[in-house]
Symmetry: C2
Subunit: 152 residues, 2 copies
């Protein structure tokens, strides 16, 4: 099977297959005399594994770990679980970060007329974070400002 067919069958683009090979995530394949890469069904199976792991958001580095755990029939399931749960933590941190952004924006947008007039708490808060809208009740969502943190 050529790379195009392997790509089709696995859902991983030919470009990415070559890339994964170049970084060592998958081994170098056999080549035809003309230099074409040749893939077996087993290779396609591996590629599918990789694609599913990507779909779950694992980094290539983590996938390398997962693939080698997969290959290792004496693996300890706790090692797999650890990789997975670490990733879950990363995902949840990211989710919380995005939720904070969305929450702040929705709060601001709720108080923006959204008509032809120029006054707008969104722009005003960006310009001057001292909680100008709804003075009093609502706690400052923009106080310490979504931490300058992990810009991932």
């Amino acid at each position: 099977m050529n790379i195009g067919q392997a790509a089709e069958a696995s859902g991983v683009s030919a470009k990415m297959i070559r890339y994964y090979e170049s970084i060592g995530l998958i081994p170098k394949t056999v080549r035809t005399e003309a230099g074409y890469r040749v893939y077996s069904d087993k290779d396609v199976h591996t590629l599918r594994f990789i694609r599913r792991a990507r779909d779950l958001g694992f980094s290539v580095e983590q996938i390398a770990d997962l693939v080698s755990l997969w290959r290792d029939r004496a693996r300890a399931s706790k090692d797999v679980k650890r990789v997975a749960l670490e990733h879950v933590e990363t995902l949840e941190r990211k989710i919380a970060e995005l939720q904070e952004m969305a929450g702040t924006l929705k709060h601001l947008a709720r108080h923006c007329h959204g008509d032809g007039r120029p006054d707008c708490p969104i722009i005003e808060t960006l310009a001057n974070p001292e909680e100008i809208d709804t003075p009093g009740r609502t706690a400052s969502r923009f106080g310490p400002l979504a931490k300058p943190a992990a810009r991932t």
Copy 2:
């Protein structure tokens, strides 16, 4: 004020200030005879605006829009609101995507012993997505597979 002081005062790194200038997000500054960039308090104010917008996850492109709306005293608040709500939608799509990943993984991890034994539904599902764990009750979280979508 030199770039280092402007960076300090605004929370935007000197590197990024130069970058923002290079892509036209902020105008070219005055320079001293020696070629040093010089910043005013007004410039720092703009940089702070930009930083807050970044903290809320706006792209540089959106920030360019926001800055020009900010400058435009005849702006319509609906234009600001539109930019904000579009971004909220993007954030929420992203959040949903990450939540699906995290949900799937937590589900799988819940059924993984996480001990020294090799059998592990996480790796097995990656290898063969035909819902091997808890056969029966639980709906396939891995059926159509987290869509190959937006790998942002």
